[in-house]
Amino acid sequence: MNCTYRIISYVIMGKKRDLKQIDAIARECNMSPPVRKAFGKFIENEKANGDMGVLNDKGDFTWEELQQKAEEFLNRF
């Protein structure tokens, strides 16, 4: 078995929970689709910069943290 074949069994995906939370917060804050998209980037960027959430050890965010982030994001627009 070569390397390529082994990788097939690896399995990931954009997590539905995360996406649904972003979508719900975007709706709550009346974000247009491009702003919602930028918000997803913003959250990912915050994580990459070390500003992690407390949901899990990957630094994902809780609902309250995401709401807080949305406010921060929109205030700086």
């Binding site: 399995v11 990931i12 995906m13 996406l19 972003i22 491009p34 997803g40 980037k41 994580k47």
Partner: protein
Amino acid sequence: MVITSVISTKQVIQPSIEKIIPCIIQPMIGEICHQVSFSYGDELGLDFGEMSPYDHPKLKHLLKGSWRFGARASPWAVKHHDQTLVVTAEADTDEQTAIAKEIVKQLEHKKLLDMTIEADTLQLTMSFEDSYQLILNPELDDDSGLACWELFMPTEQLLTVGPGYFWSCTSIS
């Protein structure tokens, strides 16, 4: 709200999605995938066409394409010369995520040659130069309410496919 749900259980005629979607995205064929990136929730994003910075002050160092494809939560696979390099699905250890993210980066700087959608399964196939393919296999029975994929277009429109056979194209300005 009661009325809405009654209507939605009625037999709904399916649109000819396999003809309509390729027609709408036709101008994207021939564009280069300049960037493969990931958004929150490990959503795969492909940026094509003219690249420009985000407007938000904290994202100014990041570029976005005039065509922005988002795979939402749909599982995807990358093929090269008909050989599958990676398949993604429900589970997601950090290590697996990292590997898949690395592999799909091979699509960067490749020209998009074709994009087809399968009428029954809604399988989406993006064919790139050098015999690369990106394949999305939406879960038709998924009840998350999330779209299968979306495409921001330079016409200031957002094309959305899913959930199910629903599609829409709306103004984003």
